[in-house]
């Protein structure tokens, strides 16, 4: 675990120096919000019409912005040759996965929070006073997204030429059913003020997060091998 933590700290440190991944995720989420803002502006939609769309808008933004981060999570290590350096260290290789999960979670969560701020600024939305339950869903949904996405990113890392295509192809169907749909529903329920109603969706997210982590723990040694 200490090695996974060291990988996460290293990733976050290098990311804050280069700002490659976080910057593109932030710019993307800003552009998505701008696009939605103008769509609403031109069609003169009322705030009542906005209400059922809040949750899908947020999760579409989180998902596509987060995908930028997941796309490069392992490929950067592979392309600069440092992945082999990590694989040579005397540890269970699932530690590499857990390190990447920690760093991706931190960075994507950071972008999610900025996306929420952009949403509030563009749509003058106050979350009906239910920001805290929404944050709970965002934290858990993002975690499930990151554990599954990091696994897929690891699986695709050796497919050098088609990596950029393979990750979305593998990720979108899996995420859509196991992360996006429960997260969107749970966020809608949280916005209505009753987080208790969202427990079935939160349970689905939790169960799938455990399944993805278990798969990664058992298979990551084989996943990284060429």
């Amino acid at each position: 675990m200490s090695q996974g933590l060291a990988i996460a700290i290293k990733d976050i440190k290098t990311e804050f120096r280069t700002k490659e991944m976080v910057f593109s995720m932030l710019v993307f989420s800003l552009f998505v919000m701008v696009a939605f803002y103008f769509a609403f502006y031109f069609y003169s939609l009322s705030s009542e019409a906005l209400e059922p769309l809040v949750s899908p808008i947020l999760w579409v933004t989180f998902f596509f912005a987060g995908m930028f981060g997941l796309l490069t999570s392992f490929s950067k290590e592979k392309d600069r040759g440092s992945l082999e350096g990590l694989m040579l260290c005397p540890m269970d290789r699932s530690a590499i996965y857990f390190g990447k999960v920690l760093s991706n979670y931190f960075l994507i969560l950071l972008v999610d929070i900025f996306a929420l701020i952009f949403f509030v600024l563009f749509f003058s939305y106050d979350f009906n006073g239910n920001l805290l339950p929404v944050l709970v869903v965002v934290f858990l949904g993002t975690f499930c997204f990151v554990v599954s996405g990091t696994l897929i990113s690891g699986i695709a890392v050796n497919a050098q030429d088609i990596r950029g295509v393979l990750i979305p192809i593998l990720l979108i169907p899996i995420i859509l059913l196991t992360v996006l749909m429960p997260s969107v529903n749970a966020t809608s329920k949280a916005l209505e003020g009753d987080i208790i109603d969202a427990i079935p969706e939160l349970r689905i997210l939790g169960v799938f997060a455990v399944i993805y982590i278990a798969i990664a723990y058992l298979l990551f040694d084989f996943v990284l091998e060429e």
Partner: protein
């Protein structure tokens, strides 16, 4: 006990056999140099020895540990240096060494890290980002990474690629020093003159098999070159 023991090693990629019943031993403290043309299976062999790839069949024992059953123990007793330094350009040399110390669960204080950097002649660049280093300096920094955990066996895959004369000489001196310290060194190279100069025992890999093996003292450079070029023609 041999430091490296390879028995009937085979590696296949689909139907293609890259290593075919390869047998080889390196005694503890020995400097073994392996030559071979492109496609002979040299890099595949190093990847298997360093547990980056699994053998299709056969046994490999390093320092008494089986690479299939005890891969973590193997990894803690080897140091791998290739043409790629495995370092992070956006971190300083010191940060890179601290990171790898953590990965090897070592407690390295400032003084030890400085000694290590001094050993490879990079003490004055400790706080510079590795991305600012020249190719030769990166390779020296990689040597510091490799010896961080003081491994008794060093596996070197074409570590001289892209080095200028000065860096080349410096790396050779460092390898000689390690050999004098009793480390087992397994070097893979194309460079016959270099390998013959620094190695103790020489082997030639052709078509995934050890086609020739000899003690350096039993064969001068010209005779060895003749043998090597003769065998190169046999590579499919």
């Amino acid at each position: 006990m041999p430091a490296i023991e390879i028995k009937n090693l085979q590696k296949r990629f689909g139907r293609k056999k890259v290593l075919c019943d390869l047998n080889l031993e390196a005694e503890s403290g020995e400097f073994l140099v392996m030559f071979g043309p492109n496609g002979a299976g040299k890099t595949t062999l190093i990847k298997i020895l360093s547990t980056l790839s699994r053998p299709s069949s056969g046994n490999v024992i390093i320092n008494g540990f089986d690479i299939k059953e005890e891969s973590m123990e193997v990894r803690s007793t080897i140091g791998v240096l290739s043409h790629n330094p495995f370092l992070y350009d956006d971190l300083t040399l010191k940060e890179n060494l601290i990171f790898y110390s953590r990965m090897y669960k070592l407690k390295k204080d400032e003084k030890t890290l400085k000694t290590l950097a001094d050993e490879v002649g990079l003490l004055h660049r400790m706080n510079d980002r590795v991305g600012q280093f020249s190719r030769g300096m990166k390779q020296r920094a990689a040597v510091a990474r490799v010896i961080l955990h003081n491994p008794p066996v060093l596996l070197l895959d074409e570590p001289y690629t892209g080095l200028d004369y000065k860096a080349w000489e410096m790396l050779t001196d460092i390898l000689r020093k390690f050999h004098e310290e009793g480390k087992t060194i397994f070097l893979i190279t194309h460079n016959v003159e270099l390998g013959h100069r620094i190695g103790e025992r020489l082997a030639i890999l052709v078509n995934g098999k050890v086609a020739f093996e000899c003690e350096k003292k039993n064969m001068d450079i010209e005779a060895f070159k003749g043998k090597y070029h003769g065998l190169m023609g046999a590579q499919k």
